[in-house]
């Protein structure tokens, strides 16, 4: 299955995505239980989220606020909204109905611009509650052969926002770009941690194909269980090829819900349209309509930080001129990882922007992946040393790692440390460099070593000054020996050329 199939000139792919995002609230949507991942099963529960008889839901204001932030970031209209009940029986559904927004969503009619300029319509972004989680036990844990199932209601009632796109997406790659950009927005607005591996962001894709240029949509299939960007891309490519093959073979695509089997790399039929549930939606009588007033909406907008697109623009601006392809990727990565403040901090302190960006996107990001943290001021101090030529690229990595080991703090990288002055940071880093034995490489020190080597090799220096470039190897070798190999060959050459005049 390759992307080429999908790019087949005879066919156009039409995709709409439904993204379920778990909101990063302190408590659940309708009760005071903690909204936490990974706790002991059935410890974060109460009569409300267990759906006990007589319990009633009370809406969480923080969830409404985060939903409004998402709506604002997606250029939606924020509307008076209401809740409905979606009725279906399933053991992970504590009340055997889900409280969701149906015909009156809080956000509607928005859009999301992709980094390449394409604009995808956002139909709606509405609030709803999550279900509990089923674990099938026995016979390998597969649904069909399980002996029994266990239910954990810790997730029951966790707030979700479901973001529904228009069928504006035209390829698997674009679907990935949309999901990636959306994830960045969710993280940037503080609405979600965006961790797909923990289920914080779950995607269903509606996929259809039609002859290129056709006006009507083909029959669509909904693909469930897409838990990573990679799955999203693979599943769409598989599904597009499957549908085209069906049509080419003279068969028809049936409207159905399909399950993505990551291990097998294929989609499988779950249920057809005829088997689809009748959810019997009706207005939730236990909740009054939600009408956020203009003042509240205003406060939410005012409290929002810049979105990924604006943040990428700031980085481009810091680089001056137009960034190369590698730098475009670095800018994306740095914003996605919420590390752009490090680049801007270093640049503001006088660091060279390309160095600051590359070091953030590569070395700092790598440390972050290992869960290691560092104050911005320390990072800036190290980048400044490289900018001044006091550290090589290789040494940067060692200094960064050692600084984190000595000074690492357990706060998010994006948070500034109060009271950590740039002076203190610089002294800290200088000390780390000294301990690593790199201090000989300071610009002044390197000049001293080169001067000593020249003094020790007067004949060779005479030949070099007369134009014999080959003899420079003697000086470089001697400097390397003196510095135990830590010197930067290029810088030694530069110093030699400078002294030759």
């Amino acid at each position: 299955m390759s992307a080429d199939t999908e790019a087949d000139r005879d066919w156009e792919t039409v995709i709409g995505l439904e993204v379920h995002c778990e909101l990063a609230t302190q408590t659940k949507l309708f009760c005071g239980c903690p909204n936490a991942f990974g706790d002991e099963p059935n410890t974060n529960v109460c009569p409300v989220c267990l759906g006990l008889p007589g319990s009633l839901p009370v809406i969480n204001a923080q969830a409404v606020e985060l939903a409004m932030r998402i709506g604002t970031a997606l250029h939606c209209e924020i509307l008076p909204s209401s809740f409905a009940r979606k009725n279906y029986f399933y053991p992970d559904q504590a009340k055997d109905y889900q409280i969701s927004q149906y015909d009156e969503p809080i956000n509607a009619n928005g859009s999301l611009a992709l980094p390449d300029g394409a604009v995808i319509g956002v139909t709606r972004a509405h609030l709803e509650e999550d279900t509990g989680k089923l674990t099938h036990v026995g016979a390998g844990g597969r649904i069909n052969s399980a002996h029994h199932a266990l239910v954990d209601y810790n997730r029951s009632g966790v707030p979700l926002v479901e973001i529904v796109s228009e069928p504006d997406i035209r390829s698997a790659a674009q679907a990935r770009a949309y999901a990636s950009e959306l994830r960045g927005i969710l993280v940037a607005t503080g609405a979600s941690d965006g961790r797909m591996e923990e289920g914080s962001m779950r995607i269903d894709a509606n996929v259809s194909v039609r002859p290129a240029g056709a006006g009507e949509f083909g029959t669509r299939c909904e693909i469930k269980n897409l838990n990573s960007l990679r799955s999203l891309g693979r599943a769409i490519e598989y599904e597009v090829a499957r549908q085209i093959a069906l049509i080419d073979a003279g068969e028809v695509v049936r409207q159905e819900t399909r399950h993505w089997d990551e291990a097998a790399g294929r989609t499988e039929s779950m249920r057809s349209k005829e088997e689809a549930n009748d959810y019997r939606y009706f207005p939730e009588p236990d909740l009054v309509p939600l009408v956020p007033d203009a003042a509240w909406q205003g406060r939410v907008k005012a409290a929002m930080g810049p979105l990924p697109a604006e943040r990428r623009a700031l980085l481009r601006q810091a680089l001056g001129g137009s960034p190369g392809e590698a730098q475009v990727d670095q800018i994306r990565a740095v914003v996605d990882l919420d590390l752009d403040a490090f680049v801007l901090h270093a640049v503001a302190a006088g660091a060279q922007a390309t160095i600051a960006l590359a070091r953030t996107a590569n070395e700092l990001a790598a440390e972050g992946e290992k869960g290691r943290r560092l104050a911005r001021e320390l990072f800036t101090a190290i980048v400044l040393m490289e900018t001044r030529g006091e550290l090589s690229a290789t040494q940067f990595k060692a200094v960064l790692s050692a600084t984190i080991e000595n000074e690492g703090v357990t706060i998010p990288m994006s948070a500034a440390i109060e009271g950590q002055s740039s002076m203190t940071a610089e002294l800290t880093v200088v000390e780390v460099v000294r301990r690593l034995g790199f201090e000989a490489l300071g610009a002044d020190s390197l000049a001293n070593v080169v001067a000593e080597v020249i003094a020790a090799h007067p004949d060779e220096w005479k030949r070099y000054v007369e134009g014999d470039d080959k003899v420079s190897g003697v000086f470089v070798g001697a400097v390397m020996k003196a510095t135990k190999g830590q010197a930067d060959g290029a810088k030694v050459m530069a110093e030699l050329r400078r002294l030759r005049g």
Binding site: P47, P53, G54, L56, R85, N87, P91, K95, P285, D286
Partner: protein, 478 residues
């Protein structure tokens, strides 16, 4: 038995201890409830412990609350922590809630003593208490007759003199109709005045908890304890009026009473006669009495029997055997659901779940549920027009006096007709009350219904007190 006000006064002044009062109530229950079956669960030890706590508080000089030492009967759809709460259904048999309903907390804080959990139609669906999975309750005035329903157990417990006060819930008349049939006062507050937190839902947009008492003044006393904003119920109102109890004796001079033939004409002649006599009593007490027609009330019953089952079909979905209550084991989760619900629900509950599921189904929603909501709006607007010219409405509560056990169990439509006069107030969310007024041809109690606009409980009690004062003496009059 003395009134709730008298009991509380005697307990507060240490004339009687709460323990003595409670022991007397328990003895009365032990003496006759084998015959009546008002209670599903009598709380002997718990009630005595609560009474001792009240007595101890009084001994320490603390304020024991306005209902100090007053025994009260709780309908078994109100959650009581650690105490079985069954809704008279096999599907909840043995379930002990881990929490108290807000009204139960308020009663305890007011010094009341929960004497037990009372019988009801299963999940409050019925008008005779014959739909209880645990056997019917009998009318204390004639044990061959039903007490009405669905709150028949609480009504019977007050009528039998077991307790001065009871709590019921009223979705389509489930407090007022049994109050009428048992000859006691029963009141449905404005929707939102009393918290629904811990009331096991039947039809959420209609359910409201309210008081039973032997007289209007006691009903007002209990209402004042119950009527509080509750942050755990978002449909709970923030309204806080002055205590209604203080206004009960205010009289009806100048009050405009609209006698509503649409709430009388379908009733038995003896019942209709009592309503017109009650109107005369109000006129004699200084009220302006006039006739006012509200023909839209006729559509209330049909709308109600779509909206209430629709909400019930969703509210009762959770009884699936997974988390609590009855479970009938089967091969997979879906089969277990079906087996549990088939075994756990009675016929009337199943009938309403099916009706409601149908009314909400794709393709039928607009013709049934949505249409019923439009009718509901029409009824609300009709009330508004009526209240432009009168202050309260007067009608019958139930079409007849108490009917015989078994009379209507096989005829759901005849049973549903019992709610025809009470349903409009539920649809509108308005307060209404049934107050005894004489007897029917069979010598059994008749209830007259007073209806008032939203939040006008004080006026409602005032008019009801005037009806009560003008009522003819009966064998069971206090």
């Amino acid at each position: 038995m003395s009134s709730a006000r008298e009991v509380a006064a005697a307990v507060r002044s240490k004339e009687r201890s709460a323990r003595e009062v409670t022991e007397a109530a328990l003895a009365a229950v032990a003496g006759r409830d084998g015959e009546l079956h008002a209670f599903l669960e009598v709380l002997g030890d718990e009630a005595l412990a609560a009474a001792d706590a009240v007595d101890a508080a009084i001994a320490r000089g603390e304020d024991p609350g306005p209902l100090a030492g007053v025994p009260i009967a709780l309908k078994d759809n109100l959650c009581t922590r650690g105490i079985p709460t069954t809704c008279a259904s096999k599907i909840l048999e043995g379930w002990r809630p881990p929490y108290d309903a807000t009204v139960v907390e308020l009663l305890r804080a007011a010094g009341a003593i929960a004497l037990g959990k009372t019988n009801m139609d299963e999940f409050a669906m019925g008008s005779s208490t014959e739909n209880s999975a645990f056997g019917p309750t009998r009318n204390p005035h004639c044990t061959e007759r039903v007490p009405g329903g669905s709150s028949g157990g609480s009504a019977a417990a007050v009528a039998a003199g077991f307790v001065p006060l009871g709590l019921g819930s009223d979705t389509g008349g489930s407090i007022r109709q049994p109050a009428a049939l048992c000859g006691v006062v029963g009141m449905k507050p404005t929707y939102g005045r009393v918290s629904r937190y811990g009331l096991v839902a039947f039809a959420s947009s209609l359910d409201q908890v309210g008081p039973f008492a032997a007289n209007v003044e006691d009903a007002a006393l209990l209402f004042d304890v119950l009527a509080h904003h509750d942050p755990r119920d978002t449909t709970s109102l923030r309204h806080s009026g002055p205590p209604t109890h203080d206004a009960v004796a205010g009289g009806v001079d100048g009050v405009r009473v609209g006698v509503c033939p649409d709430l009388i004409e379908g009733c038995a002649p003896d019942v209709a006669a009592r309503v017109y006599e009650a109107a005369e009593a109000l006129r004699a007490a200084g009220a302006h009495v006039e006739e006012i027609r509200v023909p839209e009330f006729a559509y209330g019953l049909s709308a109600y029997y779509l909206i209430a089952p629709a909400e019930a079909s969703s509210n009762l979905a959770r009884y699936d055997g997974v988390r609590y209550g009855l479970r009938v084991e089967a091969d997979d989760a879906a089969a277990m659901n079906t087996a549990t619900r088939t075994a756990g629900f009675g016929a009337e509950v199943k009938r309403r779940i099916m009706l409601g599921t149908y009314a909400l189904s794709a393709g039928y929603y607009d013709a049934y549920y949505a249409q019923a909501q439009r009718v509901r709006t029409m009824v609300v607007e009709a009330f508004g027009r009526a209240y432009a010219s009168v202050d309260v409405l007067l009608g019958a509560t139930a079409p007849t006096t108490a009917f015989a056990l078994g009379d209507k169990v096989d005829d759901p439509m005849a049973m549903y007709m019992n709610d025809v006069c009470t349903i409009p107030s539920n649809l509108a969310g308005h307060p209404a009350l049934s107050v005894p007024f004489g007897a029917g041809a069979d010598g059994l109690p008749v209830g007259v219904q007073v209806l008032a606009p939203a939040l006008e409980e004080a006026l409602l009690f005032r008019v009801a007190r005037a009806v009560e004062a003008g009522a003819p003496a009966t064998a069971w009059s206090p």
